[in-house]
């Protein structure tokens, strides 16, 4: 099994979110969701906001939210350079939901069309959405077991 392990690392500018040896990783790339298994060909892709799911060595899943960034896949190593990322158990679902509401509200209230503000708000909406999705999926995976 030694060759069936990926050294996985996900970092944001603020911290190292997770560093582990894992079996598989599912990430949302710009082209759609992909799952990386050991011995994947080298790949570089940009990510879109969404949910990252990994399967640890002991078969347990771990769920994270990501707001964008890049993934670099090497033969037995995967590095995710995320803009922001959080593990599902760290996210407060209620607050994530509220934050999304606030962002949507701000979008509605935006009177003048300001390109920069608009994109910023949109970005925070998808980010919060990804966070609450991550929590939901995490809870689901816990319930099944």
């Amino acid at each position: 099994m030694a060759d069936k392990i990926i050294h996985f690392e996900i970092v944001t500018p603020k911290r190292v979110v997770l560093k582990e040896e894992v079996m598989q990783i599912t990430v949302p790339t710009m082209m759609g969701e992909i799952t990386v298994l050991p011995n994947h060909i080298p790949l570089v892709a940009s990510l879109q906001p969404g949910v990252i799911e990994i399967k640890k060595k002991d078969g347990l899943p771990e769920v994270m939210s990501v707001s964008g960034g890049f993934i670099e896949v090497l033969k037995d190593k995967v590095v995710i350079l995320a803009d922001t990322a959080e593990r599902a158990e760290e996210i407060d679902e209620k607050r994530a939901e509220e934050a999304r509401m606030r962002a949507e509200e701000a979008k509605k209230n935006l009177k003048q069309f300001d390109q920069e503000k608009f994109t910023n708000i949109n970005a925070s909406i998808v980010k919060e959405l990804a966070r609450s999705k991550a929590v939901k999926r995490w809870k689901k995976s816990k319930n099944i077991q």
């Binding site: 690392e9 500018p13 603020k14 790949l43 570089v44 890049f70 670099e72 350079l81």
Partner: protein, 322 residues
């Protein structure tokens, strides 16, 4: 011997200086703590992203040029150097060290190989960086203001944009960044590092530094991994798949990573600056204390001498009256 009054005045003034340096030391300590925290937080990301970028620069995608920012120029005529210095002085040799380092590495650059007519131009951040122009006469391309407080990535974005544009337009054939690497509180090392074009092999060739120290604030393992990779560089080229397309991915990833590198350099410089200031202020406080001790000794001697003289005078007077 100076009169007791003079000595007393000096003791007082040095005591005041000591109070000031002590206060500055404490301020620097507080700032240092904050900036070290900031620099350590981002280091992993910066290192990993730099590793990624170097890997990408190695990518062997059947000879096609992946991205203009990865292409080496044949002739280096103009070099842009981003220099991080401090806004204020009183931080020991911090600014002198980095400015001299840059100057040296430019000179070395000239001496190596063919006599090159490469011209260096500076983009500085931090007021004290002006010294490159003042003392060495290098041209300044831009002078960005530096905030004193812990900064945001947004602060270096204009620099990143500027160097990328200038590199693409051909104004610069090479872009370097000069900053002070924070090793620990007692040790900071000025470094010059190549930023553009992103080049795995560039390493230290032009940087004028030798040995392990020359490698950017990176972990030992990374250096080792890099050395190993270096050896088998030829056979160990990856063929990367890019999603959606090389152009789109690299267009996004490279500028982003350049920003991160600059930001890291800024943070390293900040942490180094405050540590350097703390150390030099600590020394100043100590020196002031020593001086006060010494002067107190002189003062006592002078006082005693004057008393002795007075007694001698009185007893001499009394003797004369007998």
């Amino acid at each position: 011997m100076a009169s007791t009054k003079d000595i007393q005045r000096r003791i007082k003034s040095i005591g005041n200086t000591k109070k000031i340096t002590k206060a500055m030391e404490m301020v620097a300590t507080a700032k240092m703590r904050r900036s070290i925290e900031a620099v350590l937080k981002t280091r992993t990301y910066a290192n990993l992203s730099w590793a990624t970028v170097l890997n990408l620069s190695q990518a062997d995608n059947s000879g096609e040029e992946l991205h203009p920012l990865l292409v080496k120029k044949d002739k280096i005529k103009n070099v842009g150097i981003v220099l991080f210095a401090s806004n204020r002085g009183l931080c020991g040799g911090f600014n002198t060290a980095i400015v001299n380092k840059v100057h040296e590495s430019i000179k070395k650059h000239h001496h190596k190989g063919e006599p090159m007519e490469a011209k260096a131009e500076f983009i500085i951040m931090g007021k004290k960086g002006l010294a490159v122009n003042k003392y060495y006469g290098y041209n300044l391309a831009a002078d960005f203001p530096k905030q004193d407080a812990v900064s945001e990535v947004a602060e270096v974005m204009p620099i990143a944009k500027m160097i990328i544009n200038d590199f693409l337009s051909g104004k610069y054939d090479k872009v370097m960044v000069a900053y002070t690497d924070f090793i620990n509180v007692a040790k900071q090392i000025p470094r010059v590092k190549q930023l553009l074009p992103i080049d795995f092999t560039a390493d230290d060739k032009y940087l004028g530094i030798v040995g392990e120290d020359s490698r950017i604030g990176i972990s030992k393992e990374f250096i080792k991994a890099k050395d190993e990779k270096h050896l088998e560089e030829k056979k160990n080229k990856f063929y990367y798949t890019f999603e959606p397309s090389p152009q789109e991915v690299l267009d996004k990833i490279i500028p982003r990573l350049i920003e991160v590198q600059l930001f890291q350099a800024l943070l390293e410089s900040n942490a180094s600056e405050h540590s350097a200031r703390m150390a030099s202020m600590h020394k100043a406080t100590e020196a002031a204390g020593d001086l006060v001790d010494e002067l107190t000794l002189y003062y006592n001697k002078a006082r005693q001498a004057s008393i002795t003289a007075e007694i001698a005078e009185i007893s001499a007077g009394a003797n004369a009256l007998k």
